[in-house]
Symmetry: C2
Subunit: 413 residues, 2 copies
């Protein structure tokens, strides 16, 4: 690749305009926007009309353009664009976590086949340089776990709940009003967005390519004032935590809300910030935090990828290429707070070890150990009157055989 970067942009929303602004304000990178493909020709634009086209081929088959930056919402349309660009030998930069997670293996193959790089630092936790750090810095390390707050919208909502002492619905509405949550907040609130990011992180942490469907996600949609009160009484906050961790040479992974104690570095990660804990054998515990959303942090990460292309940087996928035979497992034990309506009891046999139980005339909860595979097959994850929150001190251990349940009468009123 020549060091002179000639860009073709798909999409010119917040991130695209942020990118344009950054390019104009920094001297450090010699890159020029050649063409911008947009969908809506009637929107008022801040740039000369010459920049814009409605025809994607004007970028994809433009020999003057060597880097395609894909910034559109539609994951399938984005994939077609990225695929064609790579097939034409163009380098690609994308922030589209769903597209990348859905097509990880194909995108890996396309990069190899056409010897064209695809960079996507902005796809996971925006401004935090986690992918390149995992890829580069931890390559020779024995990584044990990566976990953290991967979603800015839900973290904003949870921050509001605990700071302003308001309920979930009010906090969600406030987040929507200032643009930190979508009109349809399902992807964020039900933890799909952090799951896509986790899939990307899994590939760069353990060399593991998994489909998003394989990874369990449980969001904050069932969070009740009872749950919030429980957390407040214990001095906890609740954060939506994506995790992946090596246990007995297999990988456990998922996204669930978790109680967080004040001494956890994630406790103070508030509003739209993301935070990531990395555990490895030699560096031990590392922590990264930064804005996980917003046009400038995202634009900056996109620009950083563009900059890396000037010196022919590409992901090596070393952990994957080394052919390490790791796989996902659900055969582990997790400590869970399960809150339900007293009128509608849950099957306590699901727990291998009940540590606490409580009930009043409306709500009840059990805190206990549960097999992750059993959890995924149970109705606990479907019932709207139930909420699940991972215990603050949970370990992710291979399941033990001993079953120590409290007597059932202690959980009934």
């Amino acid at each position: 690749m020549s060091t002179k970067i000639k860009l073709g942009l798909f999409g010119f929303g917040c991130v695209g305009q942020g990118l344009y602004n950054v390019l104009n304000q920094t001297e450090g990178i010699k890159a020029e926007i050649v063409k911008i493909c947009i969908k809506n020709p009637n929107k008022k634009r801040s740039l000369s009309a010459d920049y814009f086209t409605l025809e994607k081929d004007e970028i994809l088959f433009n020999e003057d353009i060597n880097v395609v930056v894909e910034m559109i919402d539609d994951a399938e349309a984005a994939f077609q664009i990225v695929k064609t660009a790579l097939q034409n030998g163009k380098a690609v930069v994308s922030a589209n976590k769903k597209m990348i997670a859905d097509h990880f293996d194909e995108l890996y193959q396309l990069q190899k086949q056409y010897n064209a790089p695809l960079l996507y630092e902005a796809s996971a936790c925006a401004s935090i340089p986690i992918i390149r750090n995992l890829e580069e810095y931890y390559d020779n390390d024995l990584l044990g776990a990566v976990e953290g707050i991967f979603n800015g919208s839900t973290n904003y909502i949870l921050t509001k709940i605990f700071k302003d002492n308001i309920d979930f619905d009010t906090a969600l509405k406030q987040a929507q009003e200032i643009g930190f949550a979508e009109t349809d907040p399902t992807l964020d609130v039900e933890a799909y967005d952090p799951k896509y990011k986790l899939c990307i992180i899994l590939a760069h942490t353990f060399g593991l390519f998994v489909k998003p469907e394989e990874v369990f996600n449980y969001g904050i949609q069932n969070l009740s004032t009872f749950d919030i009160q429980y957390a407040n009484e214990k001095g906890y906050k609740i954060k939506l935590i994506a995790f992946c961790r090596k246990v007995d040479n297999k990988i456990v992974a998922g996204v669930l809300p978790r109680f967080i104690k004040p001494d956890n570095k994630l406790y103070n990660i508030e509003n739209e910030y993301n935070g990531i804990l990395v555990e490895s054998a030699f560096t031990e515990s590392q922590f990264f935090a930064g804005k996980g959303a917003g046009s400038n942090p995202t634009g900056s990460a996109v620009l950083s990828d563009i900059s890396a292309l000037t010196y022919s940087y590409k992901y090596e996928y070393k952990k994957h290429n080394r052919g390490a035979k790791v796989e996902l497992t659900d055969d582990f034990s997790i400590d869970l707070y399960v809150r339900y309506s007293t009128a509608n009891p849950i099957d306590t046999k699901l727990f291998t070890n009940i540590k606490e139980s409580y009930a009043n005339h409306e709500s009840a909860y059990i805190v206990g150990s549960i097999n992750f595979a059993a959890l995924r097959q149970s109705d606990l994850i479907k019932r709207k009157d139930i909420n699940l929150i991972v215990a603050a001190d949970t370990k992710f251990e291979k399941l033990q055989n001993s079953i120590q349940s409290l007597e059932e009468e202690t959980v009934a009123l």
Copy 2:
């Protein structure tokens, strides 16, 4: 450089042995130790005697060796080794912050002249990948500030003081007993060690090469129980903070203790951990934390540099090479808590703005704004009965002309 790394080591202490262990346990990197130069032939070693030599030339002029890893204490001897290695076209990895800070410009020139890379990720905050991140990821960003806890020993001491409610001398003794502070703790306690790291960070943040003598350092050696009580009453901790920041297109930099509030991400960075805040125009606030000392975290950072050499990584010094004309300035205002003995008053005219003053029959303090240049010339920094701590909310502003002092009688008893 061939991808096969053949290593010559200088020194085989904790870090060297850690490196040997890591190399043995990880499959990710193909590197082989050819020779180890040691000073003391009588020490019992865990490796075969064939590895060891007392002659540095057996490494420096050994054509089988392409990477020299320098891990000795003596900064001047280390510089001679690194210089000769670079002159012989060998890549060099070092963790020696004093050597690198003292000879930064020469080392930069040597790398250019002999086209041989010198990497030193382990020299600043051990396991935190800050240098490569500043060098690579923030290159195209408009960096505003880098500040944080750069010294593990003093952070361990300060943690003990605030957690166990003990005084400075007791905490220092405990740190020495478990090996977190040297028998002569001056370099750490008087903030020379974090200053060396700050000099390295300055080069990769702002492209500024400065000599350590130019940068002000003030440690925690005068910390009294009165100061600790003041912090406790306000709900603050005290941390030793290295900082560099762009103010009006000049750079302010230094190392001083600072009051830290609970909402600051550095508040929870305890024991031997380091933490670094990075501010930039587009990513906004970023945070990194990890172990700042110890043989494994340091060995891991050294190994990461060795790994980077397999794909010919070198620091580009882009910010410096761009020829940006930035320079250090002391012409800024800093808010400072100055504690002194009531019997021996200080010159209140040093303050451009006094915000608080207090005195009892033994101790007194003033919190106020002071010109940094005036501070450096004053006797405040020399008197043993005085302690200086930067205010929690200090700004680093270009000095204003207005002088608003409280009447002198309010500070006298």
